[in-house]
């Protein structure tokens, strides 16, 4: 592992990593105090893309906030759709038809695949491997085409509605999804694992780098693959089942190594699990309506409600405080990466710059989601 840092205060300098830096994937800035190439202190500075979505939620009615949800985590926008829908449906007591639930699960999982594929691509780019980016995009495009067919958009979806989804899926989508899963199944071991996962340089760069212990992960509130890479068996889909997830047979990959490689492996395994879920959901897909009858203007009973979903990055929570009127009195968004990133300062201390960037990449940051 890394050589212990000798802190010679007179020889440190401050390096501004970002807000425009290729490895921060957006506009994150990290103020690094460096001793040579070793990091003495790392201080993430957030807020460069802050848009105050929570205030926007208070201004319009419940449905009007729906498009905003996709603008936060643009890589797993459907999970944000889902989380917000769950919160509002819980508040207003709306029942969702079963077919709609299945479609939700299918699309959310497909979106999770795109998110993980993009993460994989960008992570390899952080490590200096450029080609995997295009392999992953190749696959990702196929999902985006399929999703575009039924949702109408490719990135910032606004597909879910209170009480269902906007549009039913058709046979072509189902056939295309089956075909895609078959294709990804064949490419995954050869292209992804043989070429990249088994690569000695990759292993050397990730093994033992960015150790985030189980206790640290808990104290910083890490969730999602970051927590699962630290040996925490926590997945909202299993621990706090929502939608129709309990009906599917899937595993939660957990690795105990606590390093960047573990987080990498968790996500690679999750791709597998998501494909399993999609397949099962397509097999079991029931008939029926895809949208319940819901009044145009919702006025949920006063009170506060919480809904959590598992996004590609972890536990996304919506706290909805209602006062009986047609707009949310308050909407709190608990974004997973906000908590996941908060451990960066402590973990990056004493690391080499290159290792810290590898660690940052393994956290899978989506800046608009952190800044909201």
């Amino acid at each position: 592992m890394s050589v212990p840092v000798q802190c010679r205060h007179d020889e440190t300098f401050v390096l501004n990593l970002g807000p425009q830096h290729p490895a921060t994937h957006g506009v994150l800035r990290v103020k690094l105090t460096m001793d040579g190439e070793y990091i003495v202190k790392a201080e993430p500075v957030l807020g460069y893309i802050h848009r105050m979505h929570e205030k926007m939620a208070e201004d319009g009615n419940f449905a009007q906030f729906m498009p905003n949800t996709a603008r936060m985590d643009y890589l797993h926008a459907l999970a944000y759709n889902h989380g917000y829908c769950l919160a509002v449906e819980r508040a207003a007591g709306i029942e969702v038809p079963e077919r709609a639930e299945y479609i939700r699960v299918i699309t959310v999982e497909m979106n999770r695949l795109t998110s993980h594929l993009l993460w994989w691509a960008a992570f390899l780019l952080d490590l200096g491997g450029f080609s995997p980016l295009l392999y992953a995009f190749d696959d990702r495009e196929q999902i985006l085409d399929l999703l575009e067919r039924i949702t109408g958009s490719r990135l910032t979806y606004c597909y879910f509605r209170f009480g269902g989804v906007y549009n039913d899926i058709d046979d072509e989508f189902i056939a295309g999804t089956y075909a895609f899963i078959k294709r990804l199944r064949s490419r995954l071991p050869r292209l992804y694992h043989d070429l990249v996962t088994g690569n000695i340089i990759l292993i050397k760069r990730l093994k033992g780098i960015g150790m985030l212990s189980k206790e640290q992960a808990r104290r910083y509130g890490c969730t999602g693959p970051v927590a699962r890479g630290s040996g925490i068996n926590y997945d909202v889909r299993k621990n706090e089942p929502y939608s129709v997830y309990p009906e599917f047979d899937f595993d939660v990959p957990v690795y105990n190594e606590c390093d960047s490689m573990a987080r990498y492996m968790v996500r690679m395994d999750e791709i597998e699990q998501s494909m399993r879920i999609i397949e099962q959901a397509l097999d079991k897909l029931p008939d029926g309506p895809v949208r319940a009858k819901v009044p145009k203007i919702l006025k949920p009973a006063a009170g506060d409600y919480w809904a959590s979903v598992e996004t590609a990055r972890g536990n996304l929570g919506h706290r909805l405080v209602c006062d009986g009127k047609k707009n949310p009195y308050k909407l709190k968004l608990r974004s997973p990466t906000f908590s996941n990133l908060s451990c960066f300062g402590e973990v990056a201390e004493g690391m080499l710059l290159a290792d810290a960037l590898a660690f940052m990449g393994s956290l899978d940051l989506v800046i608009p989601e952190i800044d909201r």
Binding site: G47, H50, R218, R219, Y220, Y234, E240, D304, K330, R334
Partner: protein, 235 residues
Amino acid sequence: MSIVEETRRALLVLFPELAAVEEEARAAAQAEAEIQAAEEAAAAEKDENEMDALLAERDAVRLDAESAKQSVAADEDNLEAAEQEDPAAEKKEKEPEEEGPRENGIVLTDHASRGTDIDVFCDPDQVVAAAGIMDEAGFFLEAITGVDWIKEDKLEVIYDYNQYGQEQCRVVVRTFVSRTEPEIPTIMDVMPSADWHERETHDFYGIRFTGHPNLIPILLPEDADFHPLLKDFTP
């Protein structure tokens, strides 16, 4: 014992009055149960050791509770609150959300309809103790946020805790602070993740977390002196 129940008991430390009242009720209930248990124990010998341990534990708890009772007189309202949380009835009952300020205490909420399991309401100076209990119980901090109750002229501060166990148990700790002088101690020393959440809440609501070493804007611009989520905020 379910994790919800366990956590609730742990949190009762915050409210000695409630704890005392509840302990009394439970002691009465358990005295009956003891007789039954003794009969059962005779039937199944291997259970005996377990029961001994249980009894010992209960005695210890009762001693604690009694000492607490001597120091503080339980008042009628608390008695009522405690009765609502009768272990037998707690699951079925759905706590209606009260308008306005609420009495301190612990309310169990229905997860399916609320998304939370335990709702704790405490004084501002108790949040650190609550965080300590949560930390000890292995919980992690999900979020900190505020709500501006402008009509009541109060700010609510909400702490969400969750845990990684297979059984679900989400704990909400709430407290009210005054709107003009919003101040609350920081829980950063207990939960390092609170650092950013508190800064964010300070950004949006202007709530000062006393003892926070670095309470500078995190999401707002560094020179921001406005708090956008206050209801009377005009851009």
